[in-house]
């Protein structure tokens, strides 16, 4: 997955780690749901997906990501978008995510 990470990219990913997928119980970054983080001028663009299409968490996760990023980066224009391609698979879970998933 290509990630256009700006200078503050690592900080954005760290911030998004506060959002936990309520069903799986691990954060959306380690779950591999964050597809893109890009900063252009003052606009911070984040693309997210969900583990399954139609998941009722869609609205909640998008709103949560917007709220937490706006709080962390109040001077940026934050735009969070939900995307479905490529389709999320379990291969996208990070090593840290797999460890959390299996209670290690």
């Amino acid at each position: 997955m290509e990630k256009q990470t700006p200078d503050i990219g690592a900080e954005v990913f760290d911030t998004l780690k506060y959002i936990i997928d309520p069903e799986v119980g691990i954060n959306i970054v380690d779950l591999g749901l964050v597809y893109k983080v890009a900063l252009q001028d003052e606009k911070l663009q984040v693309d997210l997906t969900l583990t399954t299409p139609g998941c009722p968490m869609g609205g909640t996760i998008v709103t949560a990501a917007e709220q937490i990023l706006l709080k962390r980066f109040p001077n940026l224009d934050v735009q969070v978008e939900l995307v479905w391609t490529p389709m999320w698979t379990t291969d996208m879970i990070s090593e840290e995510g797999m460890n959390q998933l299996n209670g290690m």
Binding site: D14, T15, K17, Y18, I19, I20, P22, E23, V24, G25, N27, D30, Y35, K36, D47, T49, L50, T51, T52, P53, G54, C55, P56, M57, G58, G59, T60, I61, V62, T63, A64, A65, E66, Q67, I68, K71, R72, E81, L82, V83, W84, T85, T89, T90, I93, E96, M98, Q100, L101, N102, G103
Partner: protein, 435 residues
Amino acid sequence: MSTASTSNSPAKWVVLPHYAFAALAFLALSVLLLFSTDAFSGHYFHPKLLTLTHVAVLGWATMLMFGALYQLLPVVLDCRLYSEKLAVYTFGLLATGTILLSYSFWNFQLGWTMHLAACFLFAAFMLFNINVIQTARKAPKWTIEADFIVSSAIWLLVTGLIGLLMAVNLSAPFLPEDHVHYLKLHAHIGMAGWFLLLIIGVGAKLIPMFLLAHPEDTKKLNWSYNLINAGLVLFIFDHMLLHTKLLPLYAGMVTLGVGLFLLYLRDARNTMQRKEVDLGMQQTFVALALLLVPLGLMFVVSTEVGLPQQLMSATYLAYGISVFLGFVTALILGQTFKTLPFIVWMHAYENHVGRYKTPLPKDMYSHTLLRWQNISYLAGLVVLLTGVWFRDQHVILSGGIAFTLTAILYTINVFRMLLHKAHNLKPITYGKANA
């Protein structure tokens, strides 16, 4: 990248009353069971057994499945529910119809209360069908899961129609065959057409989702759908018109269909990333294992192997119990804790996530109560089936007590979630997120 819509979830007042009513119905069912131990010694066409069955299938199982489906249909079909208002009217009709019908059966009043109840229930199923079919028509992509769900709704309507005709026939006979003849039809369409197809349709989507598995090949599900529906249609024609000895063949088709669904789930389990299975999913696997009991008994009742009359009656009772108090109840007891915490959590915390530290859905109910619920349930089922098999009222009563305990534990946990409110939330402070 294609963009997606956000949440398709219905409002909480559409979904949550179903869970509350179903929990109370399960409690009522187990209490009624305590006062019905004498009814298990004869034929299944008994006022108390008819009451228990209809409280179980309508107030408990169908009520909960309606509520869960309003939440899950948008997930399975990836579109909004057609009408929330229709769902509320359906709830009112189903609840009133169930109470009236249970009262009528318990007191064996075959007059206007039973007719009204049957009309309310049929109207509820009609509105439910409109809602499901109109929602499915909006689905961006048609899937085999949608086939299962829409077909199950239609079979429910057929079940309700036969029930309505039978309710009228009890006080003003007009049907050519005896009542038990239609009761077999009514029961099997309800069991295989409504419950089984719906559970497979929703389970095929949800169970892999909860296991974080993505089985892609749906051939087994396609064949499962074809075999169960074909078996059911052939059974109906045979039962109504042909009267052949081929019932075990139709039972075999349904069994094969269920077997393919189980193989599909085995594929999912082989690819699952989640190695730890929580209590809700453990109970779901217990339910799937329990499904083998009625499938086995279905062959006994369909072959009419010449068992003594008393044993045959006990077998019929065990067959019904293993479907409704076995497979269906076990599944609901597990899946409630995979769906309800999530629904309540979403409504309580969706505006707080990202700003405050929030609990997880799994923190909203007692795991200890759930563990004891699962244990007392399994013990209750085994004891009840044993009591029915050996016609021992004391053993049946012991099973009823275990079921009552199960229902109390379940209801406490359900209402604990339903009454959950967000409070004392602490704002997120930045440090190490995974810490």
